[in-house]
């Protein structure tokens, strides 16, 4: 089984689906000749040609809107936002047109919108956001967020084949930092949670880059047995797996890299409060980015994004509760 970076796994998913299915194509700003701002589609234009690796005008509403049109005609577009932040310019098409189409008129919209998201490298307020909660709140969109190379490939293949609009959150900070064994075949990863590490004293629930923060923070905590649950999918949210971990561990810390207010973790906390209240041995604890834009300067950015030490401290406190 080859070892790949998270980024290579995303590329592999698209390349293999494009080879096997001529309905699949990629579109976005600078994805063709340049190979994408992060080089995710590097070499694609040589293999698949300019029509299936489409450099588009700088028009995010246009990217999402035309992808919708192509999809209802039977194609399977993968639309790349250069940065997840820019989806605000395509929000209306995604939320109002794509998200409501099937519910309203039974017309399925098979689009995948890739959103390179997240901070940690001085991207500043417009290149660092984690906007997944916007789309969790918009009915009709699925939202997934892989943390490993293996899941990056499997979730993307599943997204490409899903007849519904799927928002695929790919964390930029994981692109080259995370590596792993990735099966060679074209496999689908279920839109469900995964136990990243088994434990029994406390569970940390996270997704995307925060899974790695959580694993590192709890790798050696004076012998405590800490489970890490990787949500992988935010819509649908794997409530069963969340409750299973909480019931087993009785203590829970939820980590979001997104701003705290109404983040994915807030929904997870609500689910736990409603369905697992009696299984808890302590308060549901959240670690998230405070409700400010992501600042540019490294000292400021590190001060707001959840760090390993922040998670470790929160876990320690709750273990002692």
């Amino acid at each position: 089984m080859p070892t790949m970076t998270y980024l290579q796994a995303i590329s592999a998913a698209m390349r293999e689906e494009m080879r096997a299915d001529e309905r699949v194509f990629v579109m976005g700003e600078d994805v063709g000749v340049f190979g994408g701002a992060f080089k995710v589609t590097d070499g694609f234009i040589e293999e698949f040609g300019a029509e299936r690796v489409m450099d588009t005008p700088l028009a995010e509403s246009g990217i999402v809107g035309t992808a919708i049109g192509a999809a209802v005609e039977g194609l399977r577009p993968i639309a790349e936002m250069q940065f997840s932040d820019f989806i605000s310019c395509g929000f209306d098409q995604l939320v109002n047109v794509a998200g409501k189409m099937y519910y309203r008129q039974g017309l399925s919209v098979n689009i995948t919108v890739r959103l390179p998201s997240g901070g940690g490298f001085s991207g500043g307020p417009f290149h660092s956001q984690n906007p997944e909660a916007w789309f969790m709140h918009a009915p009709g969109l699925k939202v997934v967020a892989p943390s490993t190379a293996e899941d990056a490939k499997g979730l993307l293949i599943k997204a490409i084949r899903d007849p519904n609009p799927v928002v695929y959150m790919e964390h930029k900070h994981l692109y080259r930092r995370v590596k792993g064994d990735v099966p060679e075949d074209r496999y689908e990863t279920d839109f469900s949670a995964r136990v990243a590490r088994e434990g029994s004293d406390l569970v940390v629930i996270a997704y995307g880059a925060m899974v790695h923060t959580a694993l590192e923070a709890t790798a050696d905590l004076d012998g405590a047995s800490v489970e890490v649950l990787d949500l992988r999918s935010l819509v649908p949210l794997d409530v069963e797996s969340i409750l299973a971990s909480v019931r087993k561990c009785s203590k829970v810390v939820i980590v979001d890299e997104a701003n705290q207010m109404c983040a994915a973790g807030a929904q997870v906390a609500a689910v736990i409060a409603e369905h697992a209240w009696e299984d808890l041995d302590g308060p549901v604890v959240r670690v998230a980015t405070p409700d400010v834009p992501i600042p540019f300067s490294p000292t400021l950015e590190q001060a707001v994004l959840p760090q390993v030490d922040d998670v470790r401290e929160a876990v320690r406190e709750l273990l002692d509760y």
């Binding site: 509403s61 246009g62 809107g65 194609l75 008129q105």
Partner: protein, 354 residues
């Protein structure tokens, strides 16, 4: 690139021209009668729906296209069944021409289970995917981009097909208008944009909406824009026929401005007192149905029989729609996601020229 001829011909203010035999040499008498029938059906269904609204059977408000029937009938007639349409809320005739049954339309207005959206959306917010139509959303002109995307699919697959969408004068102020015009031109897409200029966006007149007639902007994007008399169904047909020929010939998009007038309020609740009475009076004389009747009656078309036939059809459809149940509240949370692909299918081909 609007040709002088086209602009002059399209200028309604320059006088009535219905004395002419036919604006398009590509229409048979049967086509011309079919166009009249579609307009009669649209008006009849909308008048019936307004009645149902007043009886409290149509929830929300009601939006119609009275006086604008030619804007949707002509272009829809010019499109092949395998072409695709994204239809605006005052363009009911397009749905009828594609083959949507009047009973389902009335059921749609009443929020019944038998309506096209099964009660999930109201008014003319629908598109029957089984006849190749995508329903609009209230954010305008979002469908310009969707239509461009449909055209993108045709182009990528090397198919001789075209997409068409309507949008109003107000929508030309939004960014999606620009994105779609630019995108379609850059990629030379087989798409037809029909600007339905009915003089008002809700209460806002066009002189508050734009400084330059949007049809002029087409040239700036690099493709033709023509202005036609939007109350002449044969003119809207002919302009669309030419635009479609251009589209499937690989020459790219076209913009057609159909100049018309919104004869009713924005919706049933709007008394339209912001519109000068003389403006309405002036446009009443340009009624698209009257105009087509005046053309066809001398040719021996039995218009009274046609009216009776349409009325009988609407009577039956009303009865059928009223017998349809309301959707079960239990189903409101169902069918949010598709388990299987459900894509667009072909509608009816009506023009004899295909």
């Amino acid at each position: 690139m609007a040709t002088e001829a086209a602009r002059t011909e399209g200028n309604v203010a320059e006088g009535e021209r219905e004395e002419r035999a036919s604006v398009s040499e590509h229409l048979t008498l049967e086509d011309r009668t079919g166009l009249l029938r579609a307009m009669l059906a649209m008006r009849g269904i909308e008048e019936r729906a307004m009645m149902l609204y007043r009886q409290g059977k149509v929830p929300g408000s009601f939006y119609d296209g009275y006086g604008q029937e030619a804007v949707s009938a002509g272009p829809a007639w010019a499109m092949h069944g395998h072409d695709r349409l994204c239809i605006l809320h005052r363009d009911l005739a397009a749905h009828l021409i594609r083959g949507v049954a009047p009973a389902r339309i009335l059921a749609q207005y009443m929020g019944r289970d038998g309506g096209i959206t099964r009660g999930r959306d109201g008014n003319v917010h629908f598109g029957d995917r089984t006849v190749g139509c995508v329903g609009m959303v209230s954010m305008l002109p979002d469908m310009m981009l969707v239509a461009a995307g449909l055209a993108m699919a045709f182009k990528m697959r090397g198919e001789q097909r075209a997409a068409l969408t309507w949008f109003g004068d107000g929508s030309t102020s939004r960014g999606d208008f620009h994105e779609a015009m630019n995108w379609a031109s850059v990629q030379k897409l087989p798409v037809i944009f029909i600007l339905e200029n009915n003089q008002y966006a809700y209460s806002t007149p066009i002189d508050t909406q734009f400084a330059v007639d949007p049809v002029e902007r087409a040239a700036a994007y690099g493709f033709p824009g023509v202005s036609v008399d939007g109350n002449d169904v044969e003119a809207t047909f002919e302009a669309t026929r030419q635009a479609r020929e251009r589209a499937v010939g690989g020459e790219g998009p076209s913009l057609i401005e159909a100049v018309t007038m919104r004869m009713h309020g924005h919706a049933a609740h709007d008394d339209m007192k912001y519109v000068p009475a003389e403006q309405i009076e002036e446009w009443k004389r340009k009624d698209p149905i009257d105009r087509q009747v005046r053309r066809l009656e001398p040719l021996g078309v039995d218009v009274d029989a046609l009216r009776a036939e349409v009325k009988a059809e609407i009577d039956a459809a009303t009865e059928e729609a009223l017998a349809m149940p309301m959707p079960d509240g239990e189903t409101a949370t169902e069918r949010l996601f598709a388990d299987e692909p459900a894509l667009l299918e072909d509608g009816e081909t009506r023009w004899s020229g295909f």
